[in-house]
């Protein structure tokens, strides 16, 4: 009798079903797993991530940008910044990739029910927040006011622009946009997301916040939220690292004794503050 050894590093074979441009240098990759049973098992929560392989190059972690409720395909926003993302940008419909996941934890959306939700997205950090927004919109009555603060370095880098109208039209929902550097034709705010949030000043009463963006943006967003009266335990963030395994083995993503891939990527901010090491 021989033992069965399950290799958690072995990806599922997947097929690209769609590719579209999201922003300059950012594509939305839509995939399905070739094995129907594996696809059925691939049930994920907003905030979780997966490792996507470009064969011959390697794997990188991506926040899943879709929701199980809305999408029959799994979507990833791929920002072209390195070798794996360059290879993924070259793919077309029908091409093969590898997928391992879903990995990590998600946002505790059930805990947020009945409360106002403030979402802060910076650049490609909007990708794992889109499923949060979609889930709230799909269950609109379960949540209080939804305030979305969405930012990027410049207008060309704003992601999911074709969905802003739907977000705005949803009841009790507001969308605030800002870019660091405006270009002609930009009709929204110019400046950092922190200035925008402090200006709009969403109430901290019965509210939670969800932030994803570069570490420096998270750091200063937390300071702004603190000024507005939010306690750290009201603030949720999702952190990133170049996880090689995504399953707590490779060591890449440790923040003190926590692993971003296993204990996160979603953390309540007071827990991040208690860590020995800084995430910034």
């Amino acid at each position: 009798m021989s033992k069965v050894y399950t290799n958690p590093m072995k990806p599922e074979l997947a097929t690209v079903r769609g590719v579209r441009d999201l922003a300059t240098g950012i594509k939305l990759l839509q995939v399905t797993l070739d094995d129907a049973a594996a696809m059925t098992r691939f049930v994920y929560e907003p905030g979780q991530f997966a490792e996507v392989s470009a064969f011959g190059v390697g794997e990188s972690p991506f926040g899943i940008a879709s929701t199980t409720a809305r999408s029959e395909v799994i979507e990833f926003a791929v920002n072209r910044v390195g070798t794996v993302t360059q290879a993924l940008h070259r793919l077309d419909v029908g091409d093969k990739v590898g997928v391992r996941g879903p990995l990590g934890n998600g946002f505790p959306l059930d805990e947020f029910k009945g409360r106002n939700v403030v979402v802060l997205g910076g650049g490609i950090g909007g990708a794992p927040l889109r499923p949060v927004i979609q889930s709230i919109l799909d269950n609109r009555g379960d949540y209080g006011k939804l305030s979305i603060f969405w930012s990027a370095r410049n207008p060309d880098l704003m992601v999911f622009t074709d969905e802003y109208e739907e977000w705005r039209q949803s009841p009790d929902t507001e969308l605030h946009l800002t870019v660091d550097n405006a270009t002609p034709g930009w009709e929204h705010s110019e400046g950092l997301i922190t200035t925008l949030v402090e200006g709009v000043a969403p109430s901290a009463d019965s509210a939670v916040t969800i932030t994803c963006g570069p570490p420096i943006m998270i750091k200063f967003a937390m300071l702004s939220l603190q000024k507005l009266g939010f306690a750290s335990a009201q603030n949720w963030v999702t952190l990133e690292a170049k996880m090689k395994c995504g399953i707590g083995k490779c060591g890449r993503c440790n923040l003190g004794d926590q692993f971003i891939c296993l204990d996160g990527p979603v953390f309540r901010f007071d827990r991040v503050e208690q860590l020995l090491e800084s995430f910034v």
Binding site: K3, T6, M9, K10, V57, G58, T85, P214, G248, L255
Partner: protein, 345 residues
């Protein structure tokens, strides 16, 4: 107790080498490494501690964990099953290191099937150390020169003229029992010799005291010396961080085979913790070196149980700028004592 004379041991090893892969310490141009041997004569008898640990056989420096075949169709295949391997002459510290890696790969979910396969295919025959050599400090981190943890069998060289050249055999697992089945051994009434222990070694601080020393300027000064050469990590029997990347294994028109490689990585290297976009939360050599020690003495035991250090001392001998893990242990104990004195005052 079961006893093997040197000639019985030689015969047994020669027989094992015909049936499976026998790995043992070998002198490779002055470096003592665990390598496959054809018979007992290739073994560097009388060796002390090897330059590299036998970890290379259960957690290889570079290993294909899957292969990806791209032709008219794409296929992802498991790596072929490993050859049954017996490692002879494992020092007790290195066996404890294997247990430390097991705690992460086997006991913490999800279990790493590839690592499990390699571990299951490997039998560890230990050879007790008669003494603690220069830079050895296994006793500081809970080990002993004749410790049995993690071994399938331990041989101890017997002293005294009446024994000639012979070894007491402690069988420690079913695997070890199977390996010894049918081998001619003697049954002698022998006392196991006590190893010589090094006196005056420092005491390891508990993880709470490490926590208190985290922000001390000490790490800045220590890290100033670090060249980020990563040698400490590569000789370490318990370090287990890895990188994953693809390489082409073969290519012909219309058909390519890639290997997805798992390769040792080191937290002391600059790009290790860098994230997409270039931000690095551990931007200095000081913060990276500190992480190495905190992983070993605080994070790893807190997260997985065992310490991330077995006191083999290889990093002490290897570091080109004399960063000494044993000195770090005693310095942290001193910092913690100072800290608590300040709290009292």
């Amino acid at each position: 107790m079961r006893v093997l004379t040197q000639s019985q041991l030689n015969e047994w090893l020669d027989d094992l080498a015909t049936r499976l892969r026998l790995v043992a310490p070998v002198d490779v141009q002055g470096r003592l490494l665990y390598r496959p041997v054809r018979d007992h004569e290739a073994i560097a008898w009388g060796y002390e501690r090897s330059d590299m640990s036998p970890k290379t056989w259960t957690f290889p420096a570079t290993e294909a964990i899957v292969t990806i075949e791209q032709g008219s169709e794409t296929q992802i295949n498991d790596a072929p099953p490993p050859d049954p391997t017996v490692i002879f002459g494992v020092r007790p510290c290195d066996a404890r290191a294997a247990l430390a890696i097991d705690a992460l790969f086997l006991e913490k979910e999800p279990r790493d099937g590839r690592y499990a396969e390699l571990r299951d295919a490997t039998t560890l025959i230990g050879l007790a150390c008669p003494e603690m050599w220069d830079s050895c400090f296994c006793t500081v981190v809970g080990g002993l020169p004749n410790g049995t943890d993690g071994l399938d069998m331990l041989l101890t060289e017997l002293e005294g003229r009446e024994h000639g050249q012979s070894y007491a055999v402690q069988v420690l697992s079913a695997k070890g029992e199977r390996l010894l089945a049918g081998v001619t051994v003697q049954d002698r009434d022998v006392a196991l010799p006590e190893p010589k222990l090094t006196e005056g070694l420092p005491t390891l601080s508990p993880s709470s005291e490490w926590k208190a020393a985290f922000d001390d300027v000490y790490w800045q000064r220590l890290g100033d010396r670090c060249l980020a050469c990563r040698a400490c990590t590569f000789v370490c029997p318990t370090c287990r961080c890895f990188d994953v990347r693809d390489e082409v294994a073969s290519r012909r028109p219309g058909h390519t085979v890639f290997e997805r490689l798992r390769a040792w990585d080191a937290c002391t290297s600059a790009p290790y913790r860098r994230i997409a976009g270039g931000h690095n939360p551990r931007p200095t050599p000081q913060s990276r070196l500190r992480n190495r020690f905190y992983c070993k003495f605080m994070y790893y035991p807190d997260d997985f149980g065992p310490l991330g250090c077995v006191g083999c001392g290889r990093c002490i001998d290897t570091c080109p700028v004399s960063i000494d893990i044993l000195e770090v242990i005693s310095d942290v104990a001193r910092l913690a004592a100072r800290e608590s004195a300040e709290v009292r005052a």
